[in-house]
């Protein structure tokens, strides 16, 4: 097999590099998620919260809302500490209010908040995850 000439090698390397960026962009692209509606059946524990893997639904003063359980620092799943009325990350102890506001870092961003719609039977709720 004849040796590849330097010009040909440069051409192949340049073409490879030229394709690298579109390939990286394609692989890294995240298709925006369609809003998802999750039906939750259950009653509020101590008239305060319903816990699910992805989110927690809270109620207070005739208002109902849900916040994500994903910590905005590094994505660990938050736990609700009922006695202190806070959400706490078990990995690095970031703390949030039930409304999702940061009380204590290292997390800096607030939690995602989701709309909750009660159905007529008053024990089923629709949570829109967007």
């Amino acid at each position: 097999m004849p040796p590849t000439s330097p010009a040909r090698r440069i051409f192949i390397a340049a073409t490879g590099l030229l394709f690298l960026w579109p390939i990286l962009r394609l692989i890294g692209f995240k298709l925006p998620k369609k809003p998802r509606i999750v039906e939750v059946a259950g009653t509020f524990q101590n008239d305060r919260f319903i816990n699910r893997d992805e989110f927690i639904i809270f109620t207070a003063d005739n208002d109902i809302w849900a916040v994500s359980r994903t910590c905005t620092h590094l994505g660990c799943r938050l736990n609700f500490k009922e006695e202190e009325d806070i959400l706490e990350c078990p990995c690095h102890q970031s703390r949030f209010t039930p409304e999702g506001i940061v009380l204590h870092g290292p997390a800096k961003a607030p939690l995602k908040r989701y709309a909750v719609e009660p159905l007529d039977d008053s024990s089923t709720y629709l949570v829109t995850i967007s």
């Binding site: 692989i27 692209f29 995240k30 994505g75 736990n79 990995c91 102890q93």
Partner: protein, 283 residues
């Protein structure tokens, strides 16, 4: 001094490389057995069902877990004890062997994540969040390696059972094909490992409401602690890469050898300190 020499001689007489290889064989075989009942779409359910429902599932999961840990630990001890001999390796062989160590760690780590209990799931999410901080290639790399948020455990499973194994075999092949390990020479170790796996369950941490502190795998405890204080890119990418880079440059013929040794000692010392803090300060 004489005592230290005697200890090193005694350690050197144990065939750590063979023990590591035997642990790898056991890990691979038990991994296939465990994999029969593992479902990536129901990771926690299937992993905990192994412990609770599947006959002998808990034993094989323990065997897989502990043999994998021993594989890594023995490989590290083996490397330390044959360090002088390893100096005769060519630069290429040296580089691929050093890279095989983080590759083994990734195998252990993906296995840890796959059980998807409270700690496994969180460890996976942390890894995902660290990787996306890498400039330019972070998102594609995460999409290839983890992407737990988008695709659950599929990617992690794929790499645990195929990609990282192939990568490890590729990296260590030149080394492995030269050495043989016979189980018949290590019956005591094999028996002890089987008995240990029978008696000690592999970790499984179901989610508990209100729990305030969970820890990742032992080899990433220092990293977990560091993430508390500095940005994820520095703690999760730059700091571990610095150790790998220093190990890659650890050849006596290089002029920075001595500085490399000092750096590695400092790195390991500080990392051990962070690990102790992670274990004791937040419980």
């Amino acid at each position: 001094m004489a005592g230290r020499r005697a200890l090193i001689d005694w350690l050197a007489r144990i065939k750590w490389g063979e023990l590591s290889l035997i642990s790898l064989y056991i890990s691979l075989i038990s991994g296939i057995v465990v994999g029969i009942h593992y479902t990536p779409s129901e990771p926690f359910y299937s992993a905990s069902a192994l412990d609770i429902l599947v006959p002998y599932g808990a034993f094989f999961r323990s065997l897989h877990f502990y043999s994998s840990q021993f594989f890594f630990l023995f490989a590290v001890v083996h490397y330390l004890l044959v360090f002088d001999k390893s100096q005769s390796l060519s630069t290429r062989d040296h580089v691929v062997l050093i890279i095989s160590l983080p590759c083994i760690l990734m195998l252990l780590f993906t296995g840890y994540v796959l059980r998807a209990d409270a700690t496994g799931y969180s460890a996976g999410m942390i890894a995902e969040h660290i990787i996306v901080t890498i400039p330019l290639i972070g998102e594609p790399l995460n999409n290839m390696l983890f992407a737990i948020t988008e695709h659950g455990m599929y990617r992690v499973y794929l790499h645990h059972v195929i990609s990282f194994d192939l990568l490890f075999l590729y990296l260590a092949w030149n080394h492995l094909r030269r050495y043989r390990a016979h189980t018949s020479n290590h019956l005591l170790f094999c028996s002890a490992l089987l008995l240990f796996s029978l008696l000690v369950a592999a970790p499984m941490d179901p989610e508990k409401l209100g729990i305030s502190y969970i820890t990742g795998p032992w080899f990433f405890l220092g990293l977990q602690e560091l993430l508390r204080y500095i940005p994820p890119f520095l703690a999760g990418v730059v700091v571990p890469s610095a150790l790998v880079a220093a190990l890659l440059l650890l050849k006596k013929e290089y002029r920075w050898y001595r500085r490399g040794v000092i750096f590695i000692c400092w790195w390991l010392g500080l990392y051990s300190l962070l690990t102790i803090v992670a274990l004791t300060a937040h419980g």
